[in-house]
Subunit: 346 residues, 2 copies
């Protein structure tokens, strides 16, 4: 099939193989490969066909060593198997790709140790930029490692003071909106299950939650607020606990995609009828919420757009834009569906 690859010894063919095959010097091959300087059309053609012949691909390591650029961006997220995070990669790629950068996705599995390791990997590999969603804002080893980074960094929805650009998602307004709505429907005891207050989303959601209650002049029962982890198990456990407590809520907000799953499962197991016996609000999973019976009201945000925005910010920095750190706030939307109603006996 393919012409027996005329690689030098073993391994990939180098610029030298191409030069030999084309009968030119390596400098000329480099210029053709880089497309930088002027090369006579005839020579260029000879070089190009030689490259095709030997199946040449420039050695990125050598190139990187010489130029100090890798055309590579790292994207570190807490959990690659959660679409909320991985969708960001799709958005970022759509912006960075056309600009000639390759996006490498890394998943720390919510482990701060892994996070540090990957951050070092990014630094060792001289990646040109970094987009990162931290698993824990309070891990000092991680933020220290971030500060060591000598390349542009874009932070996603986290409050860490490293002088980086940040793309924030609104959580407060959306939470206030839905809680106010529930209050207007007559709910007085509303349960909230969300991420730990150690990260911004958890903190902000709790803030919006408390704010809406305060605005309505209602007391806050801390027992109704569960903010510790992000997992289906946590969502299930806490929801079960809330619903089987002495004075259970008439509405539950499961603010987080994994928590949403788990909470939903707990509601099923307890055979609570939505929305007759319980009003239910999910988050960050439009597809799921649409397909469940009845359709579930959700707080949603466009994570692909978050990725695009992050890509744009990064690209600006890579092109040398020297501005003070920029903060971008992206709205969340509240999608009202059939899962909420007035409480049965208010």
């Amino acid at each position: 099939m393919s012409p027996d690859a005329p690689a030098s010894a073993r391994g990939q063919p180098t610029i030298r193989d191409v030069a030999a095959a084309a009968g030119v010097s390596i400098g000329t091959v480099s210029r053709v490969a880089g497309g930088s300087a002027r090369v006579a059309e005839q020579t260029r053609a000879r070089v190009l066909s030689a490259m095709a012949l030997v199946g040449y691909q420039p050695n990125a390591a050598a190139r990187a060593m010489r130029t100090n650029k890798t055309k590579t961006i790292g994207f570190l997220m807490p959990d690659i198997s959660n679409p909320v995070f991985s969708r960001v990669a799709v958005g970022a790629q759509s912006v960075l790709g056309p600009a000639g950068y390759t996006l490498f996705a890394l998943s720390s599995n919510r482990s701060p140790v892994q996070e540090v390791e990957y951050l070092q990997a990014v630094r060792q590999r001289q990646m040109d930029g970094l987009i990162v969603t931290l698993a824990d804002e309070t891990a000092s080893a991680t933020t220290e490692e971030l500060r060591r980074m000598r390349v542009p960094v874009v932070l996603l929805d986290r409050d860490v003071d490293i002088g980086a650009d940040v793309v924030f998602s609104d959580h407060v307004i959306a939470m206030e909106t839905i809680v106010s709505h529930l209050i207007a429907l007559g709910h007085r005891r509303i349960g909230l299950v969300t991420a730990s207050e150690k990260i911004r989303p958890g903190r902000e959601r709790v803030r919006g939650f408390r704010g809406a209650l305060a605005a309505a002049g209602l007391p806050v029962d801390d027992w109704l607020i569960r903010a510790a982890r992000q997992s289906a198990e946590y969502g299930a456990t806490e929801t079960h606990d809330l619903l089987t407590g002495r004075d259970p809520p008439t509405a539950i907000i499961a603010a987080g995609s994994d928590i949403f799953y788990g909470a939903m499962k707990a509601v099923r197991l307890l055979r609570r009828d939505i929305p007759r016996e319980l009003s239910f609000v999910g988050a960050d999973d439009l597809l799921l919420s649409e397909v469940i019976g009845p359709p579930i009201t959700v707080i949603d945000r466009d994570m692909v757009e978050v990725g695009r925005e992050a890509g744009r910010l990064l690209l600006d920095r890579l092109n040398g834009v020297a501005l003070p750190p920029r903060h971008i706030m992206l709205a969340s939307s509240v999608v009202l569906r059939d899962s909420i109603a007035a409480p049965s006996h208010a």
Copy 2:
């Protein structure tokens, strides 16, 4: 805070900075960094503290150029935002990480062009190995590029003859099982919506489907078989078409996670009652199927285990195991739930 980083000029500190700070030669620093040869304990300590002082991280590009190893594995998948694929990354990482390799995830967004580009990126960056799920088995540019790869490759659930190790998922047996079950319940017209026969999963599922019908002596109505794309839209469209046709099926199998979503949505819109009016079988999304009312019967497979197995195969090759290509077959499971029943008037 941190001691003003004594990096040489600008940029990251190099081995030379460390050598100067420790008062030794660069060779010695390299030996300490690499942990290879014997170094006097006293010297080692001095070098280590010098490395910490300047915040040294070895330059991966230089290292790669010298050693022809990058300790880096690429994982190319069709869609990073689909957990079916990204879960594989989690499994692979759990095996490769402890062995000192970093896994970089790449998403082609089902574009053959992107696929080729990423394959070239992997080759340019001299990654030590590759795990890949192809978006289309029939794209010759992709398979040609794969053949060019001079490092171990593990293929996931695809039939492409490049002499690579492969981790297969069973689709035939699982499909036969569920179809036979539906037939036993009295179903005679069963609809199937699945991926294109251009990729193994689609092909095998159709094969299992036809096989089960044949085994039961039932005729195959090709109108009931939809195998072209993988997307929620496709799932919705085809399901709608099947259910609103002249002679609609009494059961539908939505074999594919995105198709599952879409099909489910179509069923909701048409207000078909499951399982009274329609028996429904989903695939590859355990969480969703559990939470929908009623719980949905699904064909499921452990994608994390697929990743682990792929990681193991790759690791063997990286350690120099020279065997003929190995094929591993992982079973799928059929999880029976409340979404299937005898057809209403058989």
